[in-house]
């Protein structure tokens, strides 16, 4: 990971069988997706993942408005899902698919009751041009400031070896 910095990875092991892990991750995405990272601001909203290849992931607001921010590219229950990340660095919808990155999530059974989940969010360089927009987000209400402070701390605390 020293030079290739166009991806981020994250992993976790959960105490749940692989089928349940996959089902909760996908069909129950609304139950765990961090609320502060919803795209529709100022209203209650719900996250939906259509469980099939070509399905959409979207957020739907109480007023009926929606934000379709992803296409499911690979649907291989209970082992793998790949979906697009059609969001700009400002966490707004990125209509240009050429600027969308991709998220691959792999589920591996450690044993009957435990599952390893590996997330690889790659092609981040496609967002490159939007990167400077980061400064516009600084100080915007509901925007990045808290996250920024936190990520900056992590930048320093865990400067990748």
């Amino acid at each position: 990971m020293a030079d290739v910095q166009t991806a981020v990875t994250a992993s976790i092991i959960v105490d749940a069988p692989i089928e349940r892990a996959f089902a909760v991750f996908t069909e129950d995405i609304a139950s765990w997706w961090p609320k502060e990272h919803h795209m529709l601001q100022g209203q209650e909203s719900h996250m939906v993942l259509e469980p099939k290849q070509g399905g959409r992931i979207y957020e739907i607001g109480a007023d009926g408005s929606d934000c379709k921010w992803s296409h499911v590219l690979v649907w291989e229950p209970p082992n793998r899902i790949v979906f697009t990340w059609e969001l700009s660095p400002q966490w707004s919808l990125e209509p240009d698919l050429a600027k969308a990155s991709e998220v691959e999530v792999r589920f591996t059974a450690e044993d009957a009751g435990r599952t390893r989940v590996d997330v690889e969010h790659h092609h981040l360089d496609r967002h490159g041009e939007g990167w400077e927009g980061l400064r516009d987000a600084i100080g915007s209400p509901g925007g990045w400031p808290l996250e920024l402070g936190a990520f900056a701390q992590r930048v320093q605390a865990e400067k990748v070896s």
Binding site: Q5, T6, V8, T9, A10, S11, I12, V14, D15, A16, R20, A21, A23, V24, F25, E27, D28, S31, W32, W33, P34, H37, P89, V117, V119, H121, L124, D125, H127, G128, E129, W131, E132, L134, R135, D136, I138, W144, E147, L148, G149, A150, F151, A152, Q153, R154, V155, Q156, A157, K159
Partner: protein, 105 residues
């Protein structure tokens, strides 16, 4: 270690560089900070991959690093860490209540 954008002065420098590329002296003129302090802050921002510098004649000019995906990477890394912990909490609930939607078979 210090954090890169948690410091208000560094954030101000970062924002100034978003407006236009600048040398240390320019930044020191525009902000209530001494030149050595500006240099120190720039060093931290550079180490964090948020700004870059080029030598232009006798001046070293700093700008936001458009190729520097460090900020975005770290932001998303943190997002996924948070998200996966939230997922773990949810998936490990003994009796998952499905308040809404259908039950699965």
């Amino acid at each position: 270690m210090l954090d890169a954008l948690g410091d208000p002065t560094r954030r101000a420098i970062f924002e100034q560089l978003g407006e236009r590329p600048s040398a240390v002296v320019d930044l020191a003129d525009r902000l209530p900070v001494s030149r050595p302090a500006v240099s120190q802050h720039l060093k931290v921002l550079k180490q964090a991959g948020l700004v870059r510098d080029v030598q232009v004649g006798t001046r070293r000019v700093y700008s936001l690093d458009p190729d520097g995906l460090a900020g975005l990477r770290d932001y998303l890394e943190r997002f996924w860490r948070t998200a996966l912990h939230s997922f773990k909490t949810r998936v490990e609930q003994e009796n998952p209540d499905r308040e809404e939607g259908e039950s699965n078979g």
